[in-house]
Structure formats: structure tokens, C-alpha cells
Amino acid sequence: MALSLRTASRKTWQTLSSIKTGVVLIILVVIFSAAGTVILQRPMTDPEDMQRAYSPAMLRFLDATGLTDVFHTRWFVALMILVSLSIIAASVERFPNAWRFFARPYKSPDDGFRRVLPTQAQIAIADEEQGLGAAERALRHMGFKAERIVRTDSFSLFSERSRISEMAVYIVHASLLLIFLGGIVDALYGWRGFVTLTPGSSSNQVEVMKGAARTLPFSIRCDGTGEETYTDGTPKRWWSKLAVVQGGREISRKEIAVNDPLVYHGVRFYQATYGRTGKLDHLVLDATPTKGSTPQEISLAMKQTVALDADTDVQLVEFIPDYVFQDGQVYARSNDVVNPAVHMIVTSKSKNASINVWLPAIPGIAENANSPYSFDPKDLKTGFYTGLQVSHEPGQWAVWSGVVLMAIGLTFVFYVIHVRFWIVPARDASGHLILWVGGTANRNRDAFEIRFKKLVEQIQNGLKPETTAAEKLADSVPGASIAGR
């Protein structure tokens, strides 16, 4: 029983770590992600649109299988976990071998290795020391450092470059796991929400996507918000001046804009929207006395009282952004400033009278005719709000470090090549003294072979310093047989 359990777990491990499983999992991820882009997805699409697009039975089926929210279903998460496990298993399975290769480089090639190595050459030499010396010089000329390997039964040269390249693929896989880790942390502990602020207000309540509110350990205060536009009126920049307040103390301050958030304790505030609140900020009017002609300009905010002369005051009491008048009553139709009305009360102390002034003069309720002043609206400024996207993503640092690590790893995988050369004095089949030269590269082998040929030529040239350059060119390859792949 125990044995079969062990075989079962061994089998599972082997299956998990095989490249075939990896590719099958990749294909599954591709299929399901593609399905998630073709089928309308739940949180983003309106329920009515979903019902219009699919028949009720179809929709029930899609909902039951989770196909309407593919990327957040359990089985998609399970698939991602399987992918992670497969990467881990494949890496663990292959890592020890690669590590041995990396940690204990093979420096002194034996006969068997020398027989099967695809890229090799033999150069006739007169003397071992002279041959090795020429090889050393040739390697140095190519920018390689040669190491003399002395064993009891052999004496040879070894040279290599960029051994780290053998580890690169593990760096890439580790970086991918780091990115997954960040994603999982964010899925478990991260949240996103929204907060709307008007200038002067502050809040510590964030409306989280699922409809609930979240209380922050600090409040965020808006000190101002605004919009800059291009000459044609399209928005160029939205900004908000924000301050973080904790325990009644202002801790930090920043003017945020789209693409430039405020960060405090891992919580980020992004400029998301900007718009009119439909509430009055201030109203500018010309007030002209009925028995005079010189108008004076006054500015009124909500509930503000301004003296027009020693006897008369005016107070702004109501602002309706989009009014309708029905059955002797004024109603607000919407919060958009499309058809505004203002209600002011003009008081005269000497007459002890209050007069309701409406702009425009709504018949039936406006007593504009009785007012000692007539009013002419000049400018109306409504308030603005700023909409802030709030998010907390504790895992994002893992994601970004994973990305950087992956960039490094891929650079090593594709552009840093582990090159090795072995040079061994030996005797060929007929007993002549030769210099055996062999080499490998873990990538880009065709370019390596050209390099290898160059090295062999260099060694040969180094062996006969007395020959002239012209002769060198003429017989650069005699005695050498370069075996290609």
C-alpha cells in the first residue's frame, strides 16, 4: 500500500514536472482566457445587456459554469495554481542537474567526451608546451581567460564565459512565480474603491466595488479641484489638491492628476473623474435700486447675507439647478445646471418687511416688483467634485520585482551565451602529437562555429610565427579537420 502510494505520488510528480503537462496547461489557459474575452463578462456588463445577448437557458448555463466571470471563478484560479505548481515541479526536477553543471564545471574532458563532442578540431603540434602556449595566446586574443588544468594523468586548458546563462531559465521561471504571488496576494488582500469629494470636504469612507463601504484609518481632504482644457474645449488635465489627515493633524499633501496618484500607507488615490455637483458655489449679480440708476455688483454664496445699503439686506436662500414650476411649487428636475433658478430674500429693517425675489421671476411666488432693488445675474459658479479611484494592492511590489527579474532573466536566456573551450594535447590514431580543441555554446551555435574556426586558425597561426602573412593566408587550415555539427 505504502509502495503504491509512493509510486502514485511519484507518477503525479513526474506528470506535473513534464514539459507536456506544461504545454497542455498553457493551452487550457489560452482556451479559457479566450472564452473570457468572447463571452460577455459579469461585473463589467450591465445585467440587461447580458439578458439581451443570451437566452435565459444559455445565461443560466453560463452563470452556472462561471463562464460569465471566467477570470474570478474557482476553476480558473485552480488552473493558475496548477500552472504555478507545474513550473515549480519542472524547475525543481531540472534544477539539481543544472546546478551541478553550474557549480562544478566540467573542465577536463575524457576520451568519451572528446569522441562525441560535435564541434572539435585537431592541430598537429611538435611540442605540448608550445601548443598550449599558442592556444593560450589565441584565447587571450579573443578575450577569453584560459585556465590550466593539471590532473595526475592529463594536462589541459579550459576556458569559458557567462556560465550564469545556464541558470537564466530558472530566473525567468522564478520571476513568473513572483508575479503570480503578487497577483494572489492582491486578489486576497487587495481592494478597490471610489470616493467623491468636493473642495473643503474630507472623508475616510471608501465605497468598495461590491457596494460596501470601507473605513480608512485616516481621512482624505480635498482642498481644491479643477480642469484645464485645450483651446477647443476638450479636457487636457484634471487635478485635485489632496491632503491626508490623521488624528486631526495634516500628514501629507499632494496635487494629483490623471497618471499621477497620491500614495499613503499603501493606499493609492487616483484622479478618475471630475464634474459639476449641481450645487451653487457663488452667484454674481448687479443690484440696481428702483429709485436710482447706479448698479452695484455683489457676490453671494449660499445662505450668505450682503448689505445693499444701510437699511436693506439680501440673502441667498435657495438654488435649483434645473427647475420646473408646477401647482404653485418649484421642483428640481435634475442636478445638471441647465435651467437654474435662485431664490433670495430682500429685507428692509425700517419697514420690517421680507420680500421673496426669484430669478427668473416665477409668476405667482415671485414678489420682485415689491423689491427696492432689481437684480441682474452676471455669473453663476457651481461647485465641482472630484472622483477618486482608491486602491490597495499590497502584492504589486512582488509583481514589479517579478517583471524586472524577468527582463534580466530573458536577457540572459537570449543574449548571454555560455561558451566553453577545452584544449588537450593528445595523440591521434597514427600516434602523432596533436592539440585537440573542442568547444560548445548553449545557444546560437552557428555563430559559435564561426568563432570556433577563428580560434583554430589563430592557434595555427600562433604555432608558426616564422611564416609570412601571405603564406598564413594560403595554408591556414592544413592539418586541421574541423568537424561541423
Partner: protein, 465 residues
């Protein structure tokens, strides 16, 4: 036929060079006369026109090289490409200076950069890797790109707040480079298949399938009573018309749907004939299939002409709203490129059908092509990775979330996975030759879907590109 060609060499050689040279000189002269009248010499429109003229000259010469194999054409062709590239660089620089941001913000600007990249890559592939015939493929694409640009609205438009980010520019630049590398790997994989003695009729089937895919995609816009839905154009703001945020307004061009359906049948005919030939093991049907390709090219040209005539300017009814709405070609860049792309693919097939021997002589050998394809993907893959990372970083700065699973993002990830699969099979399983080439072609198909298909066919809000 091949023998006759060899004898004609000297005559046709000079004639074509002189003809192309004269046409370029003539067109530039005409342009110069216009410039004298209007004043500014180095405006973007003029530079673009010059680029078009030079690219057209280069295209003709490359095509001449592809057909006759006269080596002297190549010299003049690359000279013309260089001249076009210089004019194109001028246009890019002008644009960049005018707009104050790198030219990636609209489809027009992306095409401008894409054509530039394509011309530069052509010269690199030719000079560095000796793939001389590549201009035969890339230059026509460049010409189509410039012609599309002439049709699209080109004025500098201000950037909405979300698009004002260095990271976006990094993202789009990387995307352009990565996609160009993928395109190159696709072309190289195709060349490999030619050199690997893949049967000509297999190319026939593939070409026909590709064209069927194109018209199938266009027919997703087929409307009742034979109309074709195209996006309406907001003439005032010079953008596509929207009903609400992210929902485009479609107008129906009457009868164009029937034409598209007819062409669909015509482009499917070679595929059907091929399948019948396979089933009956009867190769005598294949010449008929080749003739059907020829007929389908004529019909495709007809479809393109009618589309140009009817969608260029016009007022059409809409199913979603009352009244008539305008549309222009600029509102349908995808349909337009699909129509042109279909014709182009079929012409390439004909070139291969008639000149296969010459192509085999001109192209590097299969082994070399296999290796270069792999190397191109080795360049494309890190670029894809960085592109996705830069996009995620930008999204994080703009919206507070680095990954939203929106269709464009998901498909970019799928592209990445497909190429990752290719690399795993190649490196650990030693996949070489055909299987690797098929994989490279699949990868590029996914790239094309991510670039065009997602915007055109799928629901979603990656509305900027």
C-alpha cells in the same frame, strides 16, 4: 517560361529601372509644382507624398526583382527605400514636433510609425541578413499603409488626460517593435515553407482559408436585407460616432452586404475545390482552383472599389437611431485593411505559383531561414514581455490596477503564451523546421487577432487603439 525569361534579362532590366526612375521624377516634379504654388516645401503632407512615391518605386523594383531575379534592381530598390525612409523620418519628426508627443496617439500616427519601422526593418533584413526578396512583401504593405494614411484624418488632436503618460509611449513603441518582429518571423516562416518544398497547393489552401477568414469577419457586420454595417463618423469632432461611452453608432450601407457575400463565396471556391481534390485524390481539379483564385482576386478588387465608392462619403440610415448619419473611410480602417490585405495575400500566392523556381533560387536555404525565424522570435519575445509590463505599469498609474482582464490585455497575454510555448518546444523538445514554422505562423495569427480582431470583433473598452 523560365528559359524565355533568362533571355529577356538585359532588355527588361534597364527598361524597368528607367521607367520607375522616370515615374518617380515625374511624380516628384508634379508635386514640386504644387509646392511652388502653396508655399511650404517640408510640410508633413509633402513628406508623406514623397515617401509614398519612393516606396511605390521601391515596391515596383522589388517586385521586378522578385519576378525576374535581376540583381541590379535591388540596388535601385534599396536606394528608393532609403529615400522613402528619409522622407518618412522627416514626416515622423515633423509630426512629433507639431504634436509634442511621439506619434502613437491615433491610428494615423501609429501607421506612420509602423511604416517607418517596416521600411527600416526591410533595409536591415536586406543588408544584414541578405534576405533580398523581403522587399517584395514588405514594400506593398508600406504602400498600403501610406495610402491608408492619406485617407485617415491627420490633424494633430490633443491627448485626453489618460493618454498623457510616458509609459504609454513606451508601451506603444514596444508593441510596434514587437509586432514588427512577429511579422518578420511570420514572413520568414513562410519563406522557410517555400524552401522546405511544401506543396504549392497547400499554400493555395492556406491563402484561400485566410481570405475566407477575412470575408467571414467582414460578414459579421452583415445586416438584414443585404446591408453592411459600418461605424458612423462624427464629422464635427472627426472621430467615430458613439451612442454612449464605448458603444459605437453603426450605419447600414444597403446592398454592400450582398456583394461581400458573393465575394465570400468566390474566395471560398478555391478552398472547396482543394478539399474535393484531396478527398477524391484527384489533382486535375487544382488548376481550376488556381483559376478560381484569379477570379476571386478580380471580385475582391471589385468589392474594394465598391467599398471605397460607397463608404468614402455618404449618409446612411442606422438601426440604432433615427435619421441619416455620415460615414467615411476613416471610420472603417479595419475593413479597408482587411480588403486590401486579402487582395495582397492572393497576389502573393500567384507570385509564388508562377515564380516558385525563382523564389527558391533567391531565398536563403531552409536551414538558415529556420534559424533566422527563431532569432527573430528571440527578439520579439522579450519585447512582448516588456510591452505587457509597460502597459500594466501605465494602467496602474492611470486607473489603479495593473491587470483588468480586458480583451486586449488577455489577448496580449495569449500571444505571449503562444510564443512561450514555441520557445519551450524549440529549446527543450528540439522542434525544428515545419513544426516550428507552423508555430511561428500561429503566433503571428494571434498577434493579428490581438491587433485587429479584438478591436473589431470583441466587446470591450480598449478604445484608444
Amino acid at each position: 517560361m523560365a528559359r524565355a525569361r533568362v533571355e529577356q534579362h538585359p532588355a527588361t532590366g534597364t527598361t524597368l529601372v528607367v521607367m520607375v526612375g522616370l515615374s518617380i521624377a515625374f511624380l516628384l516634379f508634379i508635386a514640386f509644382l504644387n509646392v511652388v504654388k502653396t508655399g511650404s516645401v517640408l510640410s508633413e503632407a509633402n513628406l508623406l507624398y514623397a515617401a509614398l512615391v519612393f516606396y511605390a518605386g521601391a515596391g515596383a523594383l522589388y517586385l521586378g526583382f522578385g519576378i525576374t531575379g535581376t540583381d541590379s534592381y535591388i540596388k535601385f530598390a534599396s536606394l528608393a527605400t532609403w529615400a522613402g525612409l528619409i522622407a518618412n523620418t522627416g514626416a515622423v519628426a515633423h509630426r512629433w514636433y507639431e504634436a509634442g508627443h511621439p506619434p502613437f496617439a491615433s491610428i494615423y500616427e501609429m501607421l506612420l510609425s509602423f511604416v517607418w519601422t517596416l521600411a527600416a526593418l526591410t533595409l536591415i533584413a536586406e543588408k544584414r541578413y541578405g534576405v533580398k526578396v523581403i522587399g517584395t512583401v514588405t514594400m506593398p504593405v508600406a504602400i498600403v499603409g501610406v495610402v491608408l494614411m492619406e485617407l485617415l484624418p491627420s490633424e494633430v488632436r490633443p491627448l485626453v488626460p489618460a493618454l498623457q503618460s510616458t509609459w504609454l509611449h513606451v508601451h506603444v513603441t514596444l508593441a510596434m517593435l514587437a509586432y514588427a518582429a512577429c511579422a518578420l518571423s511570420f514572413a520568414l516562416a513562410m519563406m522557410f515553407l517555400i524552401q522546405d518544398k511544401m506543396k504549392t497547393e497547400t499554400f493555395l489552401a492556406a491563402t484561400s482559408m485566410f481570405t475566407v477568414g477575412i470575408y467571414g469577419a467582414i460578414l459579421t457586420r452583415f445586416e438584414r436585407w443585404g446591408g453592411l454595417n459600418v461605424v458612423a463618423w462624427d464629422t464635427e469632432n472627426k472621430t467615430e460616432a458613439f451612442i454612449s461611452r464605448g458603444v459605437r453608432l453603426f450605419v447600414t450601407i444597403p446592398d454592400l452586404g450582398w456583394l461581400m457575400l458573393l465575394v465570400f463565396v468566390a474566395v471560398a471556391a478555391p478552398l472547396v475545390l482543394y478539399i474535393i481534390a484531396r478527398i477524391q485524390k484527384n489533382d486535375s481539379l487544382l488548376p481550376t482552383a488556381n483559376r478560381a483564385i484569379f477570379v476571386s482576386i478580380l471580385l475582391q478588387a471589385l468589392a474594394l472599389i465598391f467599398f471605397l465608392l460607397r463608404a468614402r462619403n455618404g449618409q446612411y440610415p442606422s438601426l440604432d437611431a433615427e435619421g441619416l448619419y455620415a460615414t467615411t473611410l476613416a471610420a472603417s480602417p479595419f475593413i479597408l485593411s482587411a480588403l486590401v490585405g486579402g487582395i495582397f495575400a492572393n497576389l502573393l500566392y500567384l507570385l509564388m505559383l508562377w515564380r516558385r523556381e525563382d523564389l527558391e533560387r533567391l531565398l536563403p536555404d531552409a536551414d538558415a531561414l529556420d534559424r533566422i525565424t527563431y532569432k527573430t522570435i528571440c527578439i520579439a519575445f522579450p519585447l512582448l514581455t516588456l510591452m505587457i509590463a509597460a502597459g500594466a505599469y501605465w494602467a496602474n498609474r492611470a486607473w489603479g490596477s495593473y491587470w483588468n482582464w480586458d480583451p486586449k490585455e488577455t489577448w496580449a497575454a495569449i500571444t505571449w503564451l503562444v510564443y512561450a510555448g514555441y520557445l519551450h518546444m524549440r529549446i527543450t523538445r528540439g522542434w525544428r523546421g515545419r513544426r516550428a514554422a507552423y508555430f511561428a505562423i500561429l503566433g503571428f495569427a494571434v498577434v493579428m487577432f490581438t491587433f485587429f480582431g479584438v478591436t473589431y470583433l470583441l466587446p470591450g473598452l480598449h478604445a484608444y487603439a
